[in-house]
Subunit: 347 residues, 2 copies
């Protein structure tokens, strides 16, 4: 049985290719608006998977532009109606459906208070797209499975595209062009060993640092949403400050090796889990495969890195079909998880 | 057996009383520095429990002052050495020990880049206290148990004290004076029903919205640290965007009722969990006890609310001794959880 979720996930490379072509002019315009505004900080608004895309955007904006980026607790406006000072803000909402009322209310409020408002949205006819001054369409196409896949990956690629243009980072822009092919190659990697390993697992940690931290969070959410497994995501440094007490014999952890200066600390955390007799699975790319084998018994290798910032997309491209298959193996329907609907509206 | 953790947690009311007296002059000076700086945004730096105290401070700064507050991913400076723009920033580190190198490096960098730097710290002779321009001592006294209790509660009270002074919120300042007595009264509440309920539980959600959201995160951390139970904290709105798929028959959730406009959405989430046949425990105060019983079978009532912003401290004052007792009941030593040490140093 091939699920809708797996089919949609596998469309991601072609959707990103389309997005890169279609958004060129839109992003040129948006970049000039942002440069003119000279924001003192950015503010992201998002929930669920989109919330982790917003965390990825935070890493990009801070690392590439030095622009401090705050994640908005939506209740601050939608429930408490706090008088936020937003004249110097760049407010960015991220959403597949663009329908949740709390998101619309926060972006409307930001606009009223003088922020430059922008949204990354898949449905360009949604209420959110109407509220924001600037719109970056995701071009993910229709997404029917409840669990987001291609809409998440296209949020990440759109975020890279915008920030690379803002930072005039030509190397990153060139790497981004190689992304659809690199992701297509990743789809050939076999995930059978992972399925076998996680079939009987009830709870685990998903860990990474830097640019892969947000996808550790997203992967943990997918374990919950589609496989009914209680996975929790952490930065591989943060997990040592308390949560590590859960690690004991046979406790599982899935880690992502980021192909940059953060690699050492992630490998150290991996070794600590092994020392506590936990079982580690490390996802890495060919570039570092030799070093990596020293710290984890179980390693899954994806094709060569095209740019450290792009690694997280390749890792998730491997994992999305894995989640769909693992769910089916467990007798679950990843397209229609219990208790969930495609569009969740909160106040 | 009375554990160090329980003894220390019970000292919190007197430590907060001491802190309120001792910090009066210090905070007057700090408040005038901050007002002079006119920060465009705030930036918090913290890990573990202190990270959740920083989230509480974010709710305070945004709701009471409209000052957008970003949580710093410490790797941005300590690993990636990104060139952050911080001239208009108020940078605030929170730590019990003041020893983690990533924290010190982030605050040193912020100072170098022109931010006004401030720390809330228990050890005023620590490296962190030496790096920051302004220091708010916690006055929690020595804390030996690995799991933070009184140092967390004194971080919260110090945060309220500073923000209430900044906002010139006289009602909140008066309420804060009543806090030690209110917390002392809370210590009389019986938590036996909670211990019985969670003795055999392996994983659960801890949920709240608004000012209680950070203590839901902290309570989830304590379940992990001291009781080896995989609890995960969420905002009671955010949990509906995916994680809710885990809720099924007999899945447990612990919720906090915030005595303000956020109450309705927390109660709605509680009802949704009941509908999915989960088991809910709701912690509320006398003020709303009638309404509350309609949405949860199991309710624990603490004394009357003195101010909605102060509710979270009373709830945690009830829970800390509960965690210590539950750990002992499970044959664990909450003073020395496996894999953890009192001071965790990360890069």
């Amino acid at each position: 049985m091939t699920t809708q979720m797996e089919l949609e996930a596998k469309e991601s490379p072609q959707k990103i290719e389309l997005q890169l072509q279609e958004n060129h002019a839109t992003l040129s315009k948006i970049v000039s608006y942002i440069k003119k505004k000279k924001p003192a900080f950015a503010l992201t608004m998002a929930r669920g998977s989109s919330g982790y895309a917003a965390l990825y955007l935070k890493y990009l904006l801070e690392n590439k532009l030095g622009l401090i980026t705050s994640s908005q607790q939506l209740s601050t406006v939608s429930i408490y109606q706090s008088p936020l000072e937003l004249r110097h803000a760049l407010a960015i909402a991220i959403s597949q459906s663009g329908k949740s009322p709390d998101l619309c209310e926060n972006i409307r409020y930001a606009k009223k208070k003088g922020a430059l408002t922008l949204c990354f949205v898949n449905d360009v006819n949604s209420p959110l797209a109407k509220e924001a001054e600037l719109v970056v369409p995701l071009f993910a196409g229709q997404e029917k499975a409840v669990a987001a896949t291609k809409s998440f990956l296209t949020s990440l690629s759109a975020a890279i595209h915008m920030v690379a243009e803002l930072a005039e980072d030509k190397l990153l822009l060139r790497s981004l062009q190689k992304m659809p092919q690199a992701m297509q190659n990743t789809l050939q990697v076999n995930s059978l060993s992972l399925i076998k390993a996680f079939e009987k697992v009830n709870n685990l940690f998903v860990l990474a640092r830097g640019f892969s931290h947000p996808i550790a969070m997203e992967a943990a959410l997918k374990f919950k949403e589609t496989c009914s497994i209680h996975a929790e995501g952490f930065s591989s440094a943060e997990v040592l400050h308390g949560p590590f007490a859960l690690v004991k014999k046979d406790f599982h952890a899935l880690l992502f090796a980021q192909n940059d200066v953060s690699l050492t600390t992630t490998m150290e955390t991996c070794k600590k889990i092994q020392k506590a007799k936990g079982i580690t699975f490390l996802i890495a790319n060919e570039t570092h495969s030799k070093t990596i084998h020293a710290c984890s018994d179980k390693v899954i290798i994806v094709p060569k890195s095209i740019h450290p910032v792009c690694d997280p997309l390749m890792y998730l491209q491997l994992l999305y079909p894995f989640f769909a298959k693992l769910a089916v193996k467990k007798g679950l329907d990843p397209d229609n998880p219990q208790n969930l609907q495609k569009v969740t509206e909160t106040l």
